[in-house]
Structure formats: C-alpha cells, structure tokens
C-alpha cells in the first residue's frame, strides 16, 4: 500500500473506531471501552499511512508488524482493521458473541491483520523484540510497533524486554505507551506510581519522545520519525485520556468495567457527531 492511499482522514477514522468500539461493547455488554477510546487516535494514525501493511496481503513478509500488547483494547483494534478492510465490518457485530473469533482480548486465530493474541499484560514487548531481532539479523526492512498500557509497565517482563531491545540495538522496534494514568483499580499515582516514566525508558537506553496521544499531527510526525536515534529502539510516551472523546467517560475508572447502556450509547455517538 502506498502511504498516501488513505481511505479516510485519520480524524474521521478515529471517530469511526470510537463509534465501532462503543457499539461493540454496548452490544456485547463488554468492558474496557475507556482503554479503547484512549488509543483510538494512535490506531487511526498508525493505520492511516504509518504502518506499511496491505490488507490484501496481510502476511506479506516485509509488512510492518503491529502488536497490541494491551489486549483488552481489542475492540478498538478490530475496529481499525475492519475500517481498513482486513475483514468485513459486519464481523464487528459478532464481537464477544458465541462462536466469533473476535474475543474480548485480542485474538489472531481467524482474524486477518492481527499478528499476536494477547490479554495477559507484559507479553507483547518480548514478542516484538523477537520479531525485530529476526528482522535485523535477516536484514529485512520491516519495523515492529508494540502498543502497551501504562498498567502494563508494572509487569517485570516488560522491563526484561526493555533491557533486551537496546542491548541488541533494535532500532526497528517502537514501543508506544498509552499513558492514560488509570489502571485497573485506581490511578497510576495511587496504585503504583510510574513517574518519571520517560526517564525510566531513557535509563534503559531507549530513545524517548513524549507526545499528546490524541493530536494526530503530533502522533504522525513522531511515528514517522522513528528511529529517533540510530541504533536505539524508540519509545513514545503517549499522554492520553482514558475514555477520550466521550465526555462522561473521560478520566473515569468505572468505564474500565462498564459498558454503555442504550441511552449512554446514544449520548456517546451524538457527542461523536454520529447516530446509531
């Protein structure tokens, strides 16, 4: 796919991801809408020209790899893949329904475009390291993008991988941390403070940039600038808002668990400028 072959402007794509995810979790009475909304803009920019992927050849050997390590945001990832025609949009209606491959945590089995299944935190970056190492040793051009949650930075295995990547000079690897400041049972500050998060990654010898994870131009220019330093893996700390785009869901812990009822769905879609 050429980089200019966009189907939609990324802002419109992000709106569609949000709307799709809201409808999916509503229909399925499923959790994690807050964590889907916080990454909608990152996904929209990634799949709108940053990632070299081709929906018609999802297993192309030199495609860029994207790993959603925060697998609980699956609804948003399925949405962007459907929007980009990796599979029919109608599949989204079966999200979390009996017999559907679209499970609540991201599933690669039977879902074109999904590289890796995840859902237990702290797995994705290591897998990304392996893919990036293979790419380096085989002199392939692909890059590997891993999207992590902030809560996932509590996992020791994340930091095992964080040690590994700079040691092996994996500058074809990009870790994006969705820093929405809320984890499962409370704020990051109250549960297990990550501050100063960017300095931690820098201390592990990653090249780090902090961005507004909802500002499309900033996301795009940052992701198109990787590697930030030759010989170093890149880390993007994306400052985000959990529940972004739906006023009554923003910064609210409860939307890690609740799914919108009919009235809330209507209100949310109205805020996005859409109807059901």
């Amino acid at each position: 796919m050429g980089e200019n072959e966009h189907h939609l402007p990324s802002a419109e794509l992000a709106t569609n991801i949000r709307a799709d995810a809201l409808r999916m979790v509503h229909r399925a009475n499923a959790p994690h809408i807050g964590a889907c909304l916080s990454i909608a803009d990152i996904l929209a920019v990634l799949y709108n020209g940053v990632l070299h992927v081709d929906p018609s050849v999802p297993q192309s050997p030199d495609r860029d790899r994207f790993i959603l390590s925060k697998g609980h945001s699956a609804a948003a990832a399925y949405a962007v893949l459907a929007e980009r025609c990796f599979f029919p949009k109608a599949w989204l209606e079966a999200y979390c329904q009996d017999g559907s491959p679209l499970t609540g945590h991201i599933n690669h089995q039977g879902v074109p475009g999904v590289e890796v299944s995840s859902g237990s935190l702290g797995h994705g970056l290591s897998i990304g390291c392996g893919m990036a190492l293979a790419g380096k040793r085989d002199a392939r051009p692909y890059r590997v993008f891993v999207l992590l949650s902030d809560g996932e930075c509590d996992e020791g295995s994340t930091w095992e991988a964080a040690l590994f990547a700079p040691h092996h000079r994996l500058d074809n690897l990009v870790a994006i941390v969705d820093y929405n400041k809320i984890q499962s049972l409370g704020t990051i500050k109250d549960v297990l403070d990550l501050d100063p998060l960017a300095d931690k990654w820098r201390a592990f010898r990653w090249a780090v940039r902090e961005i507004d994870g909802h500002h499309h131009a900033e996301i795009e220019s940052t992701l198109n600038a990787v590697p930030f330093e030759p010989g170093k893996p890149s880390c993007v700390i994306a400052h985000t808002v959990k529940g972004k785009g739906v006023s009554f869901m923003e910064h609210q812990l409860c939307w890690h668990y609740r799914s919108p009822n009919q009235d809330e769905l209507t209100m949310a879609l109205t805020e996005l400028g859409l109807s059901e």
Binding site: H123, G124, S126, I127, C129, M131, A134, S157, L163, F164
Partner: protein, 308 residues
C-alpha cells in the same frame, strides 16, 4: 545427554538456517560450540526467562525454529504463561529445553528439582513432551523435533549418563521403544529412569521373571497402542518416572486404560508427594524413593503376586 543435545543441534544447524538457540545465561561449557559457529543465530538473553520465551515466540513468528535453553524449572515454570499464550496458542516451532530434569541437580536443593515439569508441560495445549533416556535417544529426539511442527518440551539430564541403546533405534515422536521382550509384566520407563529399569529387569530375570521394558521418550502424545498391547499381553504394568506423584506416565496410562475399558494391574513408581528439604545426590534420593533397581524389581514382584 547435554553433549548429545548440543552436538546434534550444531550438526543440524549447519544445514538448517531456521535453527536458533537462546539461553537464559546458562549452559557453561555446553553451548559455546553453537555460539561460536552460528553467532547470528545464538542469543544469551540474560537471566530473563519470560523475555526469552517471548523473544522465542517473536522469532518463531518470523519463521525461525527456536531452541530456548535453561536448567531445571527456569525455562518452564518461571515463564509458564508465556509458554501457554505466546508459544502454544500460536502453535509455534519453539523447543523448550531443560537440562537437569528430575533430580539431576539433587544436592542443589529444592529450587533445582524439576519434578513437576512433565505433568505441567503435558497439560498445555498442542505441546509435545519428550524425555529421552540416554544420549542416543537425546540426539534422536533433537532430530525428530527439527522435523516436527508445533511446540515441544525436551527434558534431558546432565552429563555422563550411560548409553543404553547398542543400536540406533527407530525413534519416532509418539512411539515407545521396546527395550526388552517379556510377557510376565511390562516396565514402562520415561527419561533417565531407564538405566535403573533395565537393571531391575535384569534382577527380575535372575528370579526367572521375564519383564518387557518400554522406553517412553515421548511423554505426550502417549503411545496408546504400545500401552494397550502391553496391557493385553502382560496384564501388569509398572510405570517408573523421576517425577512427583502420581506421575505423568502413570496418569496418562491409567486414564487411557480406563477409557478403553482395559482390565489390568498398574503400579506407579515415582518420587512421591513430599518435598526434599535436605541435600541428596540424585541416586541416593532415588534409592530412598524406591526407584533404585532393587526396589523397582521388588515392587514388580509384589505386583505379580496380586491377582487380576
């Protein structure tokens, strides 16, 4: 066994570019020859088994066949979820290799006793579990794994195990190896217990009892045909394994016999339920647990006195 492992792996890696070897900072005086010969396909990931397993998954997703090496419980229990989710669910060509299976590191203490590994690995979906008996079976197991699809676990001992096969057996994953003919009863051995089991068979022979001996280098999938045949022909089975009770061979043999409604006497000889809280050399503890040749022979005699 670890020498047979690495020598075979080096030989195969010369002509198979897919083969990679990862270690979590263990394998001193074992892995160097691979590292020197194939530096682009070798990584010491450091003391980080979870990452090693994830990196192995990422490499395998990129077309590599990855051997992930460590000792005792480190490459299995420490990173069990990575094995389950990243390796097994994705059906990847990763071979997890643990040196020092069973009580090979006996005196090193409780942390180094790999005595639940076979059951835990066998419980995972799509996992093939191998526990060869001697250096010959080890080399053949490595060859077989390279031609196999999907995840594998290989439990091997350390160094200096005797060679038990005088000729090269027809080693196939999922097939038992007939070590001795006999019809009084069948001794089923997995892993390095075969040394003691063969000696037990000799003792039984000196008591005019002709025991069949099966080596079961494949723990999973079980060679059901060999088990059913032994049951129907000898009616008494003794499963011998260096593993926590009830034993994974004993468990899978008895469940298969029940499934097939086979009437047969089965004894399970294993390390029992307890934990070892003091230092023991491997053979000393095996004797204490009743897994020395004489104890195996005596238990077999007892089974022969019981009526079906």
């Amino acid at each position: 066994m670890r020498t047979a492992f690495i020598e075979t792996l080096v030989e195969l890696a010369e002509r198979d570019q897919r083969i990679w070897l990862l270690t979590a900072d263990l394998g001193y005086s074992v892995l160097e020859r691979f590292a020197e010969q194939f530096p682009d396909r070798f990584v010491n990931v450091g003391v980080a088994e979870q990452n090693m397993t994830g990196v192995a998954a990422g490499l395998a997703l990129s077309g590599k066949m990855v051997f992930a090496y460590s000792i005792a419980n480190f490459p299995t229990l420490r990173c069990l979820e990575q094995i389950r989710n990243d390796i097994c669910y994705h059906k990847l060509d990763v071979r997890i290799v643990s040196v020092g299976g069973g009580l090979a590191y006996g005196a090193a203490g409780y942390t180094h006793h790999a005595v639940e590994d076979l059951a835990i690995m066998s419980a995972l979906p799509a996992m093939t579990v191998l526990a060869p008996a001697d250096p010959v079976e080890t080399g053949l197991a490595v060859r077989a794994m390279v031609n196999w699809r999907g995840p594998c676990y290989l439990r091997i001992g350390k160094a200096g195990e005797p060679i038990l096969h005088s000729t090269i057996p027809d080693f196939q994953i999922g097939k038992a190896l007939l070590m001795r003919h006999g019809d009084a009863l069948t001794l089923i051995s997995t892993g390095a217990m075969l040394t003691n089991v063969l000696q037990a068979a000799e003792l039984l022979l000196s008591r005019n009892i002709c025991a069949r001996v099966l080596s079961m280098p494949t723990v999973q999938p079980l060679d059901v045909d060999a088990v059913l045949q032994a049951a129907s022909e000898t009616h008494r089975l003794v499963c011998v394994e260096e593993h926590r009770a009830p034993g994974v061979i004993f468990s899978s043999v008895t469940s298969r016999l029940a499934q097939h409604r086979v009437h047969c006497l089965v004894e399970g000889l294993n390390l029992g339920e307890g934990n070892i809280q003091v230092a023991y050399q491997q053979n000393a503890y095996l004797a204490l647990a009743g897994l020395d040749p004489k104890a195996i022979a005596d238990k077999s005699m007892q089974l022969l006195t019981q009526s079906l």
